[in-house]
Assembly symmetry: C2
């Protein structure tokens, strides 16, 4: 990753062929005139809007966002739930480019990518939000990816779920657990072991809905700081410390026999 950071200086290359073509035919001019007249944006602008970083952002209420995410979990699950809770508000308050992206696209993040138990969809959904709004590192700012990384660390450290909905579907006591990992399998597994509840239980399902709400709450809290110019990332690149892409919980899988990666001098 140290080497990879060198590539962060490049400017993003956006395909502008069609835009150029439209300028040549005068169609873009018509689009711009219409924009002034009625707020309707032409396609050439619409496509570049998603690459026009950072996107316009207005501060959102973390509790309201968490409530939306909690309820959205029961429709589209963790990744799309976090994404939808933030994007649907900004579709209303800002409009484009938020209106371009249907949150349902990201339903597949459920269960750590279609049930594979890899990265929990909630923080991948959060990273999609921060990288779409703030932009990739090729824009010059690393805040988008590093805010996503910070949320992964927060997720691994927190006693989840941290957020309690105003009117939760499950009315009993909700056990919290620390995953020490950003992986769905570990996060859900530790909670199932501590609670004794199965994957299909009402309790586990409400737990993951509340985790989704918790991550949405944390994401908006950080985005609001960023909006106010107060965001100082706590995100880290684990690969820069370990000589391999990695989590911080080496012994969880390796036990006491943690292998050392090859550290040969770079050629």
């Amino acid at each position: 990753m140290e080497q990879e950071a060198k590539f962060g200086e490049q400017e993003p290359e956006v395909n502008l062929d069609r835009r150029k073509m439209m300028v040549g035919t005068g169609v873009l001019t018509a689009g711009l005139l219409l924009t002034k007249a009625g707020g309707l944006l032409g396609t050439a602008q619409a496509k570049s809007q998603m690459a026009n970083w950072p996107w316009p952002y207005v501060k959102l209420d973390p509790d309201e966002t968490a409530e939306l995410a909690y309820n959205e979990w029961y429709r589209v699950y963790c990744g799309a739930g976090v994404f939808s809770s933030i994007f649907t508000q900004l579709q209303e308050k800002v409009g484009e480019p938020y209106t371009l992206v249907p949150p349902e696209t990201f339903i597949f993040l459920e269960g750590g990518l279609t049930g594979w138990g890899t990265a929990c969809g909630s923080h991948v959904g959060a990273a999609l939000v921060t990288n779409m709004i703030i932009g990739p590192r090729t824009t010059g700012s690393h805040d988008g990816p590093m805010m996503g990384s910070e949320i992964m660390q927060w997720y691994a450290d927190a006693a989840l779920p941290t957020y309690t909905p105003k009117d939760p579907r499950y009315k009993g006591k909700m056990i919290t657990t620390v995953s020490d990992s950003p992986l769905c399998h570990v996060s859900v597994g530790r909670w199932m072991k501590a609670s004794g509840h199965s994957l299909g239980s009402e309790e586990r399902r409400d737990r993951c809905a509340r985790v989704t709400a918790s991550v949405a709450h944390q994401t908006v809290t950080l985005l609001n700081q960023w909006h106010d110019g107060q965001y100082q990332t706590k995100g880290r690149l684990p690969s820069a410390s370990y000589g391999i892409t990695a989590q911080h919980n080496c012994t969880s899988c390796h036990g006491s026999d943690v292998p050392s990666p090859p550290m040969a001098a770079k050629k």
Copy 2:
């Protein structure tokens, strides 16, 4: 996941408030007229285009796509590399909605999510492609997410990299390894152990560029089958088999002491 499948019957809900508003003011009509006249789409259409599943797709050459992905790795890394190799071609051959989404958005998938070693970005990039084009399971077809899941399984089973570029940057012999896992940490770690090369080495970097090319090749191969009505998914939901979201390589982390998840009857 068995329970979660129940939610697959819902139709996606796309925010159409702005569209309704524009119809009310007559602006949408102006946009539609302009579309007929000059091919320029209004915003209200542009936003729904990404939710208009399945997207128009034309068959791509797997080898050409792999070459693009290989070179894109050196600019935007694994996840955005797979995404870009397919989307940039379809931006040219189809236009919208492909032109709406800048591939650089997904640079953060590098290193298993900003260097954390979770899901390898290459197959997450592939899943973004298949879910954007074919659509989420709420459309009625499960081919989008299941094609992504099938690519994860293929990734775990294959001796990677499977694709050799026409003019590779690294000219020496490229060792291949089977990860038995969709995780970047395991995939890269096994290759580093077998090859003896460090994370920052030219060899490891070219290995990951070739893995990116390999996944892009496989993704287009499956998308072409789908286009021809020949796609029969081999994708599975591991969570349905194990009672927990999971990979198939339980002993890789748990050794011989694989815990049994709680399997209490659903309430």
